[in-house]
């Protein structure tokens, strides 16, 4: 076996924490090798060492059998190692070609045409389907990622590292990316895939190195290892994929949408004559591919976006024209899609963040004066109950928490305020298995208390796992509402593509 990359007995210590402890990673020529671990397990540190961003305290790195010392990303590039970062590093008003040749412009005269030709050839060879003359800001996120891949290929990378590549992609784009990875390997490249999504590993990887809390747990052959086995190796205990829940005890109507019409940012109707009701004691999941009006719909319900027509009623009150605070007071909880932009004030403490919706009324404050003692106690209660881990407890800044803990904080804030309707948008995006399991159980518990839950997710698994009914959305229209027990992923998948159920097919 020829190992294209070997990282032997790597140790890296940060003040107060051992990020990598005696980790060995061996990647074979022409394989897709996954690195699996929870957030903070040490995956990124390991890759940063390989990419020259950190220097290992102990251990050595061999590339094609030769020991190397990588001091910077440039060294890594020279060795044929390329990395597709989670956050793309592209100049938005440059064309694809300009972005790719950036830093490799060559001599004084820019040979745009030559570069463009080479890029086109590469794109065709690996099935990337990229037009080199498009401007970055005009292309989709999935395409931008492929530009990042092209950038590596243009620099003759032989080993490509993908850092959480699917976090920003739609299901279709994920499929495309998997195919691209297979194409890369077929052409003799090697791929390292960093992820905590087990399905993706199962679908595409050959072998998988599993890391937990900086320690190497094992290397498994993906084909012969079950998903639940890998999950329990990653988390350190058996993981429950199916959410346990009792049949729904449905009560009165909590949310009632009638002929809702909402403009999107392009000033065209993003939500078209949308009518839906959500009852107490049930979870309704909105299934659909990203960008089909879900964001506009949720913003309209929560009062963050004006509507063009229709009515919204919450627990019998007409809230069509109510402001956000009024809606919250009637009983609306909202776990927002973008937790860093909407959900939290990064520069503020956890206790401020926990109180941000309710600080203005008793018992949080009296006569305009904040009750610091109560704020602290309340926040302590939330972070204890929801196991939010942080360096300085309630005095930590929200920005210092890991993504999973940030999300737990938001879920805690929304659930503890006990709203009649809880809207959860992508509640587990980018989280690891343990956190997902926990947040799912909280949503179900909220339902079982007799409240309504409206769930938006781009992952069908999640929709099917949690929902009692599924509303399928396509191009801003409600295609159909189905009972989860009476449908399957295939049918919903078709509806997500806009295919309506045939008359009488039931």
């Amino acid at each position: 076996m020829s190992h294209v990359i070997e990282m032997l007995n790597i140790r890296k210590e940060f003040p107060g924490i051992v990020a990598n402890d005696d980790i060995t990673l061996q990647v074979e020529q022409g394989e897709i090798h996954a690195i699996l671990g929870e957030n903070g397990a040490g995956k990124s540190t390991l890759m940063s060492i390989l990419f020259g961003l950190y220097h290992a305290d102990k251990g050595k790195i061999l590339v094609r059998g030769k020991e190397v010392h990588i001091h910077s990303p440039n060294d890594a590039n020279d060795l044929g190692i390329g990395m597709v970062h989670q956050h793309f590093q592209l100049v938005h008003n440059f064309t694809v070609t300009e972005n790719i040749i950036l830093g490799k412009e060559g001599k004084f005269f820019l040979d745009r045409k030559g570069a463009s030709k080479k890029i086109k050839a590469l794109s065709e060879k690996y099935g990337l389907n990229i037009d080199p003359d498009m401007v970055i800001e005009d292309i989709t996120v999935g395409m931008q990622q492929r530009v990042e891949i092209l950038k590596m290929l243009y620099r003759d990378a032989e080993i490509l590292i993908f850092d959480e590549p699917t976090a920003v992609l739609t299901p279709q784009e994920i499929e495309d990316l998997m195919q691209i990875m297979r194409n890369l390997v077929a052409e003799g490249k090697s791929v390292i895939l960093i992820t905590h999504k087990l399905n993706e590993i199962k679908a595409v990887a050959d072998r998988c190195t599993i890391i937990r809390r900086g320690l190497l747990i094992g290397v498994v052959d993906v084909k012969s290892t079950s998903v639940s086995k890998m999950a329990s190796m990653m988390v350190g205990r058996p993981v429950n994929f199916k959410v346990d829940k009792k049949p729904a005890q449905v009560g009165r109507v909590i949310l009632d949408l009638h002929d809702l019409r909402v403009m999107n940012n392009k000033k065209v109707l993003g939500v078209k004559d949308f009518s839906l009701s959500v009852k107490a004691g049930e979870i309704v999941g909105i299934a659909g591919v990203d960008g089909n009006g879900q964001t506009e719909l949720i913003e309209a319900i929560t009062g963050l976006r004006p509507i063009e027509g229709g009515t919204i009623a919450l627990d019998g009150n007409d809230i069509t024209n109510a402001d956000v605070r009024k809606r919250n007071e009637i009983g609306l909880g909202h776990i927002p899609e973008d937790r860093q932009k909407r959900g939290l004030v990064m520069a503020a403490s956890l206790y401020d963040n926990v109180a941000i919706k309710e600080y203005y009324h008793s018992p949080f404050s009296k006569k305009g004066l904040l009750d610091a003692q109560y704020l602290h106690e309340y926040a302590q209660q939330v972070i204890d109950q929801f196991d939010v881990r942080s360096g300085e407890g309630i005095f930590s800044l929200a920005g210092k928490l890991s993504g999973g803990n940030q999300q737990k904080l938001i879920v805690g804030r929304e659930v503890v305020s006990d709203p009649e309707l809880l809207i959860a948008v992508q509640p587990t995006r980018g989280l690891d298995v343990g956190a997902i399991e926990y947040i799912h159980s909280q949503l179900v518990a909220h339902r079982d208390k007799g409240h309504a839950v409206l769930l938006v997710s781009f992952e069908l698994d999640e929709i099917f796992n949690l929902s009692d009914r599924i509303a399928v959305m396509n191009s801003g229209e409600l295609i159909d509402v189905l009972k989860t027990s009476e449908t399957n992923e295939q049918e919903v998948g078709l509806m997500m593509a806009g295919v309506k159920r045939k008359e009488g097919a039931q």
Binding site: T302, L304, G343, A355, I356, K357, S365
Partner: protein, 373 residues
């Protein structure tokens, strides 16, 4: 555990400001040396000029008063994510309103002071609320709007003073306000040996405390800070972003109006036309060095007050030009603006020390373990 953490953070902000200040002074020293003067005598006279006797201390405090109020204005707006570059105009209008009251309103002293202070506060607040409103309603950037407001104030003064408040001899400045109608107070003047020290100093101290209280303890401050740190989250949480923008600019304007009160009816007792008060911009530096916090502003305004009032004395006693003091201020601002570097530096130093202490604490243990084995 909690008080420890807090102290650590504060000292960090203080270290950053102190590092910037030391480097600024160092740069001043190099400049003095390069023009052939002795930096030690230069600084000696600079600080003596600000502090050598009770009268000069009074002048330093009076200078600092104006800077403190402007600094507070800038810092307060900053907490709501706004940049108040319009303090000069707000000072002018606040000063004009106060000057009008001083000339035209006659009341018993305590009541008169309340009206005088109120007039300045309202004038400044009016000048602040307009850019705030434009920002909230039409999304006009507050920097553009408040610079415009500065010039509207400037030319309004140009018209108003000669037309309504003309002095007996000069066309270019208003008639002097009687001491009994100003913020000066005979006992203070006496206490500080005839300096410019006036009652506005206490107004400024009170303002610092009130603003600190509003920001730390009230729901109003909570909402303002939320809007300033993340307006999207504030909007999501049901906080009215636009209303907070207007309130913030109104209060910031009022504070700058009080700065006008301290300068035009306290430090001096008349208003000149054709002068845009430089304190409106110096206040940005005060706020920056003070870490945009009320107490920080208090300290940094006193420091800038010393530099400002000492530079004349330094010039008189040595060959060092007074511009050196301005250069020092400029360099300090430069270093404060790049404070991230200091923060990293001090974080690294503190961390290293902590690690060392930890290792020392662990060392005997491990040594003992080895012995046991």
């Amino acid at each position: 555990m909690k008080p420890m953490k807090k102290r650590e953070k504060q000292s960090n902000a203080f270290l950053v400001a102190a590092s910037a200040t030391v480097l600024g002074l160092l740069a001043g020293a190099i400049l003095m040396a390069s023009i052939g003067s002795n930096p030690f005598t230069g600084f000696w006279y600079l600080f003596r000029g600000g502090l050598m006797n009770i009268e000069r201390i009074g002048n330093t405090l009076a200078t600092a008063t104006t800077l403190m109020l402007v600094g507070l204005s800038v810092a307060f707006a900053y907490k709501t994510g706004l940049f108040n570059i319009g303090a000069s105009g707000q000072m002018l209008i606040g000063g004009l309103c106060a000057t009008l009251v001083a000339h035209k309103v006659f009341l018993p002293r305590p009541l008169f002071l309340v009206v005088l202070i109120g007039a300045a506060l309202l004038g400044g607040a009016l000048w602040g609320i307009i850019p705030g409103f434009l920002k909230a309603k039409f999304n006009v950037h507050e920097v553009v709007a408040s610079i415009m407001m500065n010039w509207i104030a400037y030319w309004s003064i140009y018209y108003f003073i000669p037309a309504y408040l003309k002095g007996p001899s000069l066309e270019t400045e208003s008639a002097s306000i009687a001491v009994s109608q100003s913020m000066r107070s005979p006992w203070l003047t006496k206490l500080f040996n005839g300096s410019y020290m006036n009652l506005a100093f206490f107004v400024a101290i009170a303002a610092v405390l009130i603003i600190k209280f509003i920001l730390d303890k009230t729901t109003l401050g909570f909402g303002l800070k939320a809007v300033g740190s993340n307006r999207f989250c504030a909007e999501y949480a049901g906080i009215k972003v636009n209303r907070n923008v207007i309130i913030s600019m109104m209060i910031a304007g009022g504070l700058a109006g009080l700065a006008g009160l301290s300068f035009y009816t306290g430090y001096s007792r008349n208003m000149q036309i054709g002068v845009m008060p430089a304190q409106g911009f110096d206040g940005i530096a005060v706020s920056l060095l003070g870490g945009n916090t009320p107490l920080g502003v208090l300290i940094s305004s006193l420091f800038f007050g010393i530099l400002q009032s000492g530079k004349g004395f330094m010039n008189a006693m040595t060959s060092v030009p007074p511009e050196i003091a301005d250069t020092i201020i400029a360099v300090i601002i430069y270093f404060t603006a790049t404070s991230v570097l200091f923060k990293r530096f001090w974080d690294a130093v503190l961390k290293r020390q902590m690690n060392k202490a930890k290792r020392k604490a662990e060392m005997p243990e491990t040594a003992q373990k080895k012995e046991d084995q």
